[in-house]
Amino acid sequence: MSTPALLEMKQISKEFPGVKALDNVSIRVNQSEILALLGENGAGKSTLMKVLAGVHQPNNGEIYINGNQVTIQGPKHSQNLGISIIYQEFNLIPHMSVAENIFIGREPRKTKGILDRKQIKHETRKWLDRVGLNKISPDTLIANLSVAEQQLVEIAKTLSFNSKIIIMDEPTAALNDEETNKLLTIMKELKQQGMGVIFITHRLEEVLVVADSIAVLRDGKYIGSALVKDVTKDDMVTMMVGRELTELFPVKGKPSELVCLEVKDVSVPGILENIDFTAKKGEILGIAGLMGSGRTELSKAIFGMYSNMTGTVKVDSKLVKSPRGAIDAGIALVTDDRKQEGLVLGLSVYENLLLPTYRKIFRFGIQQKRKKDEIVNRWVNDLKIKVHDPKVEVRTLSGGNQQKVVLGKWLQMNPKVLILNEPTRGIDVGAKAEIYQIMKRLTEDGISIIMMSSEMPELLGLSNRILVMNEGRITAELSQNEATQEKIFYYASGGVMNA
Amino acid sequence: SMDKETSTKTDPKAKDNGKLKVGLSMNTLNNPFFVAVKEGAEAQAKEDKVDLVITDAQNDPGKQLSDVENLLQQNIDVLVIDPTDSDAIAQAVKKANDADIPVFTIDRSSNGGEVITHIGFDALKSGNIAGTFLKDALGGKGNIVEIQGILGTNVGQLRSKGFNEIMDANSGFKVVARQAANFDRGEAMKVMEDILQANPKIDGVYAANDEMALGALAAIEAAGRLDEITLIGCDAIDPSIEAIKAGKLEATIAEPPFFLGKEAVITAQKISKKESVEKEVILDSTLVTKENVNDVKTK
């Protein structure tokens, strides 16, 4: 008899109103093993992990740890069983410090009830170092961190539990290459220390680098497992999507010479400095940069969100001064923080999709039902948003499907300029390919796309031109032929362009 | 068409036990004065075996109109109202008139509709009495503080008016502070504390009711300025009678609410028996000082 697995989930089922999220799913993880859990958006990966974390009670099935059957009563119980998890959706308290967030619920104490604040900070520094966040003080408020930094804090928090089983639900979605590599190294170290890691990601290269085995879900069903050494990327895709996928990136189009967006000498005190560029009709303009380089800020500046901005933003010579003005001028902005800025979580998928268009399709402020239904149906189908009824609250959708709703709401506006900030964050490969196709189609219609992305392949694979940013400034402009990963990294980390 | 209230008077089942049923709509019960009115009425009703239905408008004339409407739904024989406001209550009185229910007012009168009688005190006169007392006690001169009641009620307004008639008529008086404390003891204490800070010399204080007088007294006592100040309240509630006996409060004005309540129920019975009643009964407001304090009966 072989030694029992570190973790075994058998025949797990979980139902939500109208959805069978998990249908007889079984997985197993051994000590010193990294298991990649794969599947399309809405396949049930997060749900399975939440069962393990004690957030959801399964309708059916059994869980074994080291061969002993357990019933996981709740999140705390799960922690006590040696399981810790990084949730796909952030789970931090914005107005508390990094240190407090990391040790919430299990702070070192002097005596009962009285915190040992020195010790908390000391420990925090240790864990921040571990994930490469050494330049951040333990006292910083979470609200003041960028998305990527928050993700790293989540990772630090999870590591600090010293658990046996670590679950990471798309931890790399918000990270750039460098940070991702750092994380993958950490995962390998964890593995060497004998831990079992369950890793969810939509970036299959990462799987090849770090995972030992994969398990694939589709529509809540268990499809199969394999050792990573036995499969190729294409095999994985086929298992996930159920069919073979053709080229991920479409052939690049040829932009017109007509300028569509003109950004002239834009500065925002302390944030952006003298940003100057144009985007052509039919062009995909990539914006590269490291974390904190100001890409997000640039996207917001173009969208008219800074009242203290100097310089001008014009679309077809129409001046942009506010988000409303930006929309009227034909700009659409897909932000990188879908929960805070992209969605109204308590409203339906239907209404979220329509939010920016309401003004246009309402005749004298009164709704026209048929028009609305038409738009919603079209985009739910085009983007394959997995939802059994568009009237359900968007909060119940899987992460990737939420992201599709954000995309859909802007795409149907027929924008002239589409700004995409991390557009495919958390999106599965199949859907990614479709989104790229849509982008291609849009450029063919003369739309110009500005794309901020931390995914190097995406940036290189799609952009006609790439601007590199560093500390709020544009440090380089690279044509599609010159652009390479090395060059981008050079300029992104402060290198100067020699004329 | 306009509303016509129909009383369910004809409903035989509701006419339980053949007792006389009197509705008493009180303006508020958040004030000891009115609680005593209610208790007087209850005591009399018990004695005479009268069914008494009481509502509390919580100082809201709109609610009082609703209360009256609700009472008119309950086949009462006589309606007694202690109005929140004399003008606003006219509509309620008219509703009772429309429903053919005999109605009269106590304490504060109605400026409209037909009431069979009104039993109450004269607030203007009450203010006069207070002013005159201070005139006599202080020889018509000195620094005076006036603590007003709720300045949205005619009692509050009229007492102030009556008091200030006397103040104005005596050039020796200087009203150094005039603040409202809403007939409330705690508020009066706070207001008086501040006034004591601002005014090193105060000779007389008029508080428009005893609750406020007692609040002011607490502040004055704490400041150790009891001796220098002549204080008068109004109502003659038990604790102020005690305070007069103890020499802390100089005077109050007896408008004993308990008897007003009793009188209301007695009058209601007279009306139901079709006995004649005066069109207006103004109960006496009498000055209570150390001299006559032992003769005052509050219950």
Binding site: R324 | D87, G152, N154
Partner: protein
């Protein structure tokens, strides 16, 4: 304050799902019906036509204010000034009539004043981002003071007899305030459901940042919503003043709490973004029926408030038991 764990939120009863979801949807209505049935048992006057009209008419003033409050709360705001604005509008109305203004003009003046105060609330909230609680508290205190200054503390008597119709008249046998109440709720219902303005209110209350980024003119909508709340306070003042044929300086004292209670009992979340005016109407009716039946049963006033508090507590308790999504 939500207290259920995220876990519980997802717990679902499989069997009879549709039946349960129906109960869930109409739970406030159910509670109201149960209350009425109980009231009917306790007092045989309760279900008489004249008493029903009586209750509805009494409720109309709070209900109309609560309908405006619903919009404000949907925006995750609050309006404490409604009662004070009501008092001031009423005073202006009475003043105008006494000064000999024609009735329509006087009504417009009152509505205008209410609107103005509301817009003022909205302006400070939207323009400066000051919490609505504190803005409307300040405006409440100011409006009360202005009312006292304007009326000198005395009620203002109104003698215009045609004006009496608004508060005490009937159309087809139905008291005018009741008709006004239903008309207002009809408009509100339609507006929230079928106009972009209405949908934006939900979006802003649900996630303001997203709404701004969707190009919604968030400030304008906030200002408008507070303006509407002020306008409806004035409408209530018009009814109230007509009912009493006098403007009371103390009118509407504490009505804000009752209105907010009606909104919450009606299922609208103080956190914003969730709820409907239909619930508010029922919430206001629950409170009105409660007052009425306690009076009809001749419960002593001191015990009335205990009973009222208990019933409210039970109602929301039952409500929370029925509702799966507890907020």
């Amino acid at each position: 304050m939500p207290s259920t764990t995220p876990v519980q939120k997802h717990v679902e009863n499989k069997a009879g799902f549709n039946w349960l979801s129906l109960i869930e949807k109409y739970r406030v209505l159910l509670i109201f019906i149960v209350l009425c049935v109980v009231a009917g048992f306790l007092s045989d006057v309760f279900f008489t036509m004249s008493n029903v009209m009586n209750v509805l008419r009494q409720v109309s003033i709070i209900a109309i204010i609560a309908s405006g409050m619903t919009l404000v709360i949907l925006l995750a705001g609050i309006d404490l000034s409604v009662g004070a604005v009501m008092a001031f509008s009423g005073a202006i109305l009475a003043g105008a009539l006494t000064a000999g203004w024609p009735l329509p003009l006087a009504l417009l003046a009152a509505l205008g004043v209410g609107l103005l105060f509301g817009l003022c609330n909205g302006f400070f909230v939207a323009r400066f981002g000051i919490p609505s609680f504190i803005v409307t508290l300040a405006i409440m205190v100011i409006a009360r003071g202005m009312t006292l200054v304007y009326t000198k503390g005395y009620p203002l008597v109104v003698s215009n007899e045609s004006y009496r119709f608004i508060g005490s008249g009937r159309i087809f046998g139905i008291p005018v305030p009741i008709i006004l109440m239903f008309v207002i709720f009809g408009i509100m219902y339609w507006m929230l459901k079928y106009t972009s303005f209405g949908r934006y209110i939900y979006a802003i209350g649900g996630n303001e940042e997203t709404a701004i980024l969707a190009g919604i003119n968030v400030k304008a909508i906030k200002i408008a919503v507070f303006g509407i709340a002020g306008l409806l306070s004035a409408l209530s003042a018009i009814i109230y003043t007509s009912r009493l044929m006098s403007a009371q300086p103390t009118a509407g004292n504490g009505i804000e709490l009752d209105a907010i209670a009606a909104v919450i009992i009606g299922g609208t979340s103080l956190a914003g973004g969730k709820g409907a005016v239909t619930g508010t109407l029922i919430g206001a009716l629950i409170m009105g029926v409660l007052d009425n039946v306690l009076n009809l049963m001749n419960v002593s006033p001191f015990y009335q408030s205990i009973a009222k508090g208990l019933v409210i507590l039970v109602a929301v308790l039952v409500d929370s038991k029925f509702s799966k999504i507890k907020k």
